[in-house]
Symmetry: C2
C-alpha cells in the first residue's frame, strides 16, 4: 500500500466514523468508563475522538506517529491511578515509567524521553513520594530513558488518593507502518508470557480476596524484547502491551480495526495457576486481566516460529506462546476454542471488575 493509499484509507475511516457517531448513553461517568473495555471505547469515540478528530489521532493506537523536521517520532501519554500505590513487584512509580516506555516500544519506537506530572494529595507522606520517585529513577535507568521535564500540583485532602502520575513519552521510530489495521487473515497471534499477573497482584494487595498467593506484578520495560523481535522478524504487523482490559480487549481492537476474525486456543494461553485460581474467585476470565510487561504480537503466519524464537530469546519472553491465528470470518469477532472443545465469542470487557489497576 502506498502512502497516499494509506492516507486515503485513514480519511475514509474518519468519514465512516463521522457517519456512525458513537454516543455515551450514561449521564454521568462510571468506573466502567475507565476499564479500558467497551465503555471506555465508547467514551473515547463519542467524546474525545469526535472533538479532536485528526489523521494522527484517528488510528487510535497507543502512540501517535509524528514526523517533525524529518525525524519520525512516537508520542504517547498515560495517567496512573493504581491503588494501592505499593504492591508486590513494584509501585506506581515504576508502573508509570514502564507503562509509557512500553506504549512507545510496541508502536515500533525506541523510547527516549519522558515527562512526569504529579498530582499530590495534601497530607501525602514525603517519604512515600521519595520511594516512588526512586522507583521512577531506577525504572528510567533500566529502560534507558531520561525524565526531562515535569510538573507538580497539590490538591486538598480528599481530592486525590495519595498521588496520581502522568507520564508522556517520546521515542524515535525504528519500524513504521505497524498497527492493528494492517493485520491480515493468516497472521499468527502470540503473547510474550503468562497473562494477568499484574491485575491479580493488585487485587490481592488490596486484601479483597482472602488468599495468599506467591505472585508479583509483571511490570517491566519491554523495549529490548520488542527491539529483538523487530530486528529478526520483518513480518510483525502490530504489537500491544496487554494492560487494562487484558488480552481479550486488545484482540477485539484487532478484530474490529482490521475487520478480521481472531481465533485463539484456550489451551495455548499461558496463565499461572495462582492467576487462574484468583480469577475464578473474582469471577473474571484471565483474558481480561491486565499485564504490565506482556505484549501481544500479530505477525505474518509464515514467520510465527521466528517470532516465537525471537521472543523466547529474551528473559521477558521466555514463556512466549503462539495462542491463535487471524481468519477472514466472522469479521470483527474474537473466538475462543475452549479447553473443553467448544467455541465461544470473547467480547470486549464490559463493566469494570478491576478498577484502578494501573
Amino acid at each position: 500500500m502506498t502512502t497516499t493509499e494509506r492516507e486515503q484509507q485513514v480519511l475514509d475511516r474518519i468519514e465512516r466514523a463521522r457517519r456512525r457517531r458513537a454516543k455515551v448513553r450514561e449521564e454521568r461517568i462510571t468506573l466502567s468508563h475507565g476499564s479500558g473495555g467497551k465503555a471506555t471505547h465508547t467514551l473515547i469515540e463519542a467524546v474525545f475522538l469526535d472533538a479532536f478528530r485528526n489523521p494522527l489521532l484517528e488510528p487510535m493506537e497507543d502512540a501517535a506517529a509524528l514526523t517533525i523536521g524529518g525525524a519520525k517520532l512516537s508520542l504517547t501519554t498515560d495517567s496512573y491511578v493504581v491503588s494501592p500505590l505499593f504492591f508486590p513487584g513494584g509501585d506506581i512509580g515504576d508502573l508509570a515509567v514502564n507503562g509509557t516506555v512500553n506504549d512507545l516500544a510496541v508502536s515500533g519506537a525506541r523510547p527516549l524521553y519522558l515527562t512526569a506530572g504529579f498530582i499530590l494529595e495534601e497530607g501525602f507522606p514525603v517519604e512515600d513520594l521519595l520511594k516512588i520517585v526512586e522507583s521512577m529513577r531506577s525504572a528510567a535507568l533500566a529502560a534507558d530513558v531520561q525524565i526531562v521535564t515535569g510538573d507538580t500540583k497539590v490538591v486538598q485532602r480528599g481530592k486525590a488518593d495519595g498521588v496520581y502520575i502522568n507520564t508522556a513519552g517520546v521515542g524515535v521510530s525504528i519500524r513504521s507502518g505497524l498497527g492493528v489495521a494492517t493485520v491480515k487473515p493468516g497472521d499468527a497471534v502470540l503473547v510474550s508470557g503468562p497473562i494477568g499477573d499484574h491485575g491479580v497482584t493488585i487485587m490481592l494487595a488490596r486484601g479483597e480476596l482472602d488468599i495468599d498467593a506467591d505472585l508479583e506484578s509483571d511490570t517491566a520495560p519491554v523495549h529490548e524484547l520488542v527491539a529483538g523481535l523487530l530486528a529478526s522478524v520483518p513480518g510483525v504487523r502490530a504489537m500491544r502491551d496487554a494492560t487494562r482490559g487484558g488480552v481479550a480487549t486488545i484482540l477485539n481492537e484487532v478484530a474490529r480495526s482490521a475487520e478480521v476474525a481472531v481465533v485463539i486456543d484456550e489451551n495455548a494461553i499461558p496463565v499461572r495457576e495462582e492467576v487462574r485460581g484468583a480469577s475464578e474467585l473474582l469471577g473474571i476470565d484471565p483474558l481480561y486481566v491486565a499485564c504490565e510487561g506482556r505484549i501481544v504480537v500479530i505477525v505474518d503466519g509464515a514467520q510465527a516460529s521466528d517470532a516465537l524464537a525471537a521472543l523466547r530469546s529474551h528473559p521477558l519472553g521466555a514463556d512466549a506462546a503462539v495462542i491463535g491465528r487471524v481468519a477472514d470470518d466472522p469479521p470483527g469477532l474474537v473466538l475462543l476454542n475452549t479447553a473443553f472443545g467448544g467455541t465461544r465469542i470473547v467480547d470486549m470487557l464490559v463493566g469494570d471488575p478491576l478498577p484502578r489497576i494501573c
Copy 2:
C-alpha cells in the same frame, strides 16, 4: 559562549547543586508545595531533580530542549487541577491547551502536537466533560496544534474533583539558546500586559470574596505574540508565562539562575483596578497572582523599545510595558522600587494563598 562552554557550565551547576542538596523539611505534602513558589522549588530540587538529574532536566525551564534525528524539539507537560472547572473567560479545557502551548512558545518553539490525559471522578456529568472537550478542541484550533493521543482514567467518587487534565506538548524549535540562565546585567524586563487577571478571576468565581468585578481570565495562546517578538528582536534572552507564583516568582528564578539582580518599578507594572482591589482584599500582592496569557520577557537592554513595539503590535500585547531592568548587584535578588519612592525585596511566593489556580 560555545556549546562546549555551555555544557561545562551545566555540568558545573549540576555539581554545585549536588553539593548543596535541598531538603524538604515537612513530613507531609502541604498545599504550599503546589503554589509554584518557594516550597514547590524546594520539593522539585530535593525530590525530583535530585532523583532524575540529567543535563536536559537541569536547566529547570518550563520545557526541555531535545534533539532527535536532527530535529530540535521542545517537550513540556502540565497537569491542570483548577477549581472551579468553569470560570469567566474559560474553563479547565482551554486552560490545559493554552498552558502547554504557552510553555512551548516561551521556550522558543512553535507548538505542534499535544497529548491529553484525563482523570475523571466517578459521577462527573458527561455534559460537563463534553463542554470541556469542546473548549479544548477550539483552543487547539486557535493555537494551531493537534491533540494526537490521549488517555482516560476514572477514580471513585471522592478521589478526584470532577476532572483533572494533563497535557504534554511537543514543538519544533524556532530559536534555541533561550533561558533564564543567559540573562545579563543591562537587560530589560517586560510584561506583555496587565497581570493577575486569571488568578483573581478564579478567586472571585469561588465566591470567596464578596465583590462583583467585571473581570475575565486572560487565558490565551501566546504562540503568535512570541513568534512576532522572536522574528523582530534577536536580543531576546528568555521568556516565561507568568502562571503559578506570578511575575514575582519568575523574576526570582531569573535572579537566582543568572546570579543577577532584577529591579522593577511598581509604577510601571500594568495592573487592572479590579485586580488591584481584589488583591488588597485577599492580602496578596498582584505580583504573585497567576496570569494564563501574559509573558515576562527579558531582552538585551538596547532592544527594549523594539521588543515593546513587537509585543504591542499583537492584540495580546497591546498593553505591554517595560517594568524594570537587570543589574549586577545584589545577585539573586528582586528589588521593587515602590510607588512611594522606597525599595523593597520581592521574594518568592511563600505559602499558597491561591490554591488550585491552574
